[in-house]
Subunit: 214 residues, 4 copies
DNA sequence: GATGAATGAGTGTTCATTCAT
DNA sequence: AATGAATGAACACTCATTCAT
C-alpha cells in the first residue's frame, strides 16, 4: 500500500517469480486449471519445483496470484459505481428508469477487463477445479443485489408490482453472461464495447415493461 | 433376446451395467468429468475395473453412454421444429415476427431436458475434459443458423436492414444461456418453463426493434 | 494317423477353430507372441473368448497349435536324413567329405519350410515369450550332433586331429543361421534354395581344411 | 561440480540412479525388455516409482541409458576402422585379399563388447519391444556397406565378376551372427576371441573363390 | 532464495483367464 | 459347442507436494 520504492508492485521485483507467473499464465491458458502441470510451468520458466513452492503455497495459490487482484478490482468497480448510483438515483420526468449509470459501469468494467484480458479469460473460462470456478456467480450475486434494490425503488415510486426475485436474478445473470460472451468472443475492447452497449440498450429498453406484466 | 417386454431398451437389461451407469452418474455429478475416478465408480457399483471395460470402451465412452442420447434427441427436436417452422413461416397482419413456434420449441426442449435432468446437468456443467465440453457451442450454432435465416426473411419482406452476424449470434447465444441457466437453477420443470417463457417473450418483444436501429 | 474320413486333417473340421487359428496367425505375425492379444484374436475371428478356451488351453497352446507340427516335421526330416546318411556314408576316392546328402537335407528342409512359410516365420522371429523362443537352439543341437559324428568318422578314417567341439557347434549354428536368414529374407522358395545351396557349398568347401589346422 | 575425481562420469554420482540402473539391468536381463516391470525394478532398488521418473523419461529411456552408449561406441569403432582401412587398402603380391585389418576390427570389437558384456547381452538378446530390437540389422548394414566397397575394389583390380548383393549381404550378416553367437555362448573374452578369429579365417579363406564362381 | 532428489498415492487401461449358463 | 459377463492383478506413467541442503 505504501508507495515505497517508487510505488512499483513489489511482487514483480523478483525475476524468478515473474517468470513463474508468466509461465503459469501460459500453461493455465492452454490447458485450464486442472490439466495444467506445475512441473511443466517450472520447466518452461527454467526454474525448479522448489522455487515455485517458495513463492506460492500451492497450485491454487499460484492461480490466485494471477487472477485474484483483477477480480477484486472488478468487484470494487461494481461496488463503487453501484453505491454512487443509489445515492443520486433519480427518475427522469418521463418516468423511465435511467440506465445511463449502468452503461458507465459497463464501460468501466469492460475497460478494466480488457486491460487484464488474459487474467479474465483464465477466470471465466479456465478456472474449473479451482476455488474461482464459481466466480461468475459471485459477480452475478453482486449485480443482482443492485438490481433488486433498483427494482424495488422503482416499483415503490411508481406504485407498480414488486418484481419477482427470479426475474431480477435472471436480468443480472443475463448481463454478466453477455459480458462473459463479449470477453470471450471479441478480441478488441472497442468492438466489445460497441456490441455490449447496443445489446444492453436492447435489454434495458424492455426493462420497465416487466413491471406491468402480470 | 425375446421381445417380451414390448421392446424395452435392451441396454439396461444388464444389472452390472446399470449399477455402473448409476454409479458413474453420481461420480461425474459430484466431481465433474476430469476428477471422476473410474476406480471409485467401480467400487461404488460393487464391481471390478475389468467389468467396466467390458461394457464401455473407456472413460469418455462411459460418460457418453450417459449423455449422448439425450443430447442427440435435443438436437433432433430443434432440427425438426426449425425445419417445420420455416416451411409454414408467415408474418401476421400487424407485420410482427411470429415467435409462437419458438415458444413451442422451448416448451418441448425444456420438457425433454427435465425428463433427463441429471444428464443435462452433466452435459452443461460437468463435461469439461470430455468431448462434450463444447456441446453448448454446438447447440448455439444450431439455433444461430435458424435465427440467421429468420432474420434475413424478415428484413427482405419488410425492406429493413440486414441484421449483423454478431447480433444474431448473440441472440442465439443468449437464448441458450437462458436455457442453461434455467436448467441449472430451477429444480422443477414447471418453474423453469414459466420463467423461460416470460423471459423469451421479453427478449422477443424487442427483436423487431433491432432491424430499425442504425 | 489313420486315413479316416479321407485323410483330411481332423483339426480343421471345425469352422470356429479354423477361424481362430487363422486369426491367431495374423495377430502373432503382426505383433509377436507377447504383444498379441487373445481378445483381439477372438474379435477378428468373430468369436467369443470362451470359445477360444474351449479349443485351446491357453495362449501358449494356441501358439503351439500353429507351429508345433511344422517344427516336429522339420525335426523328423532332419532325424531321418541324418540316420540314413550315417548308414551309407562313404568317402569318395579323392578322400573328400561327401556333402551331397547334406544338400539333399537342405533342399528337403527348405521345401518343407516354404510349404509352411508363415508358421516358420512365427517360430523363428515371433516366438519370444513362448516356450518356442529357444527352438533354434533345439534345431542347432540336432544338426550339431550330426556334424560331431560326421567329423569324428572323418578324423578317424583319415588319421587327422579331432575337431574341437566349438568348431562343430559353430558350423552347425552357422548352417541354421543361414537357413533362418534365407527364410526371413527370401520370399520365394526358388530364390532361397539357390542362395542357400551356393552358400552351403562355400562353407563346405573349407570344411576339410579345418582338420589340418593346428 | 568440481572435477575432483579426474572427470569421472557424473551420471553415476547419484546413488539412487545407480541403484536403479543396477536393478534395471538385472530385471531386463532376467525377463527381457517387454516383460520387465518398472514397479519391480523400483522395489528391488528400494526406491519409489516417482524416483525412477525423475531420472528417466520412460521405460525405453531407462533401457537406453544402459545400452545406448556401448552401442554407439561399437558403431564408432567399426566406422573408424573401416574408413582407415579403405584409405590404405592394398592387395598383397600374391593377389589375395588382405583381411588383417578386418581381424583388427574384430579384436577391437570383441574387446569392447566384453568390457560391456551385460549391456550387449541386453542389446542382442533382450531388447525385443524396445527401439533397439533391430540394432543387429543396423550393425549388419554397416559392415555390409564395407564389404560391398571391398568386393567392388577387388573385382575391378582383378578383372573378375562383380559380386551379387545377396552374397555380400549374407557375408556381412554371417560375420555379425558369428559375433552375436560368440558373445552369447562364450563367457570369457579370450575364448571368444580365439573362436572368432579362427572362424573368420575360415570364412575369409573362401572369400576370393566367390569371385570365380558363375 | 532456490535446488533437485524423492515421495506415494493416484490415473486410465489392458490382460489372460474363468465359469455359470 | 459356445456365450458373454466378470475377475483382479498388473501395467506404465503423472501428479502435487515436501524437505534437507
Amino acid at each position: 500500500m505504501l508507495p515505497l520504492c517508487g510505488g512499483e508492485n513489489l511482487k514483480n521485483d523478483n525475476e524468478t517469480q515473474s517468470k513463474l507467473l508468466l509461465s503459469a499464465k501460459r500453461e493455465f491458458m492452454e490447458k485450464g486449471y486442472m490439466k495444467a502441470s506445475l512441473r511443466n510451468i517450472c520447466k518452461e520458466a527454467g526454474v525448479t519445483t522448489g522455487a515455485l513452492y517458495f513463492f506460492f503455497q500451492d497450485k491454487e495459490d499460484l492461480f490466485a496470484s494471477l487472477v485474484e487482484e483483477p477480480l477484486e478490482i472488478l468487484l470494487n468497480i461494481m461496488k463503487q459505481h453501484y453505491s454512487e448510483e443509489l445515492v443520486d438515483s433519480e427518475f427522469k420526468e418521463n418516468g423511465k428508469l435511467d440506465f445511463s449509470d449502468d452503461l458507465e459501469v459497463v464501460k468501466h468494467v469492460i475497460h478494466h477487463s480488457y486491460q487484464h484480458y488474459d487474467e479474465f479469460q483464465l477466470l471465466l473460462t479456465k478456472s474449473q477445479g479451482s476455488r474461482f470456478e464459481k466466480c461468475i456467480d459471485q459477480i452475478v450475486e453482486f449485480s443482482e443485489k443492485h438490481y433488486r434494490i433498483l427494482a424495488d425503488m422503482y416499483s415503490e415510486q411508481t406504485n407498480t408490482k414488486k418484481l419477482d426475485d427470479y426475474i431480477v436474478h435472471w436480468f443480472a445473470h443475463m448481463q454478466i453472461d453477455i459480458f462473459v460472451h463479449m470477453l470471450t468472443h471479441e478480441k478488441s475492447e472497442e468492438a466489445a464495447l460497441q456490441s455490449m452497449v447496443s445489446i444492453m440498450k436492447y435489454l434495458m429498453a424492455g426493462w420497465s415493461g416487466l413491471f406491468d406484466e402480470i
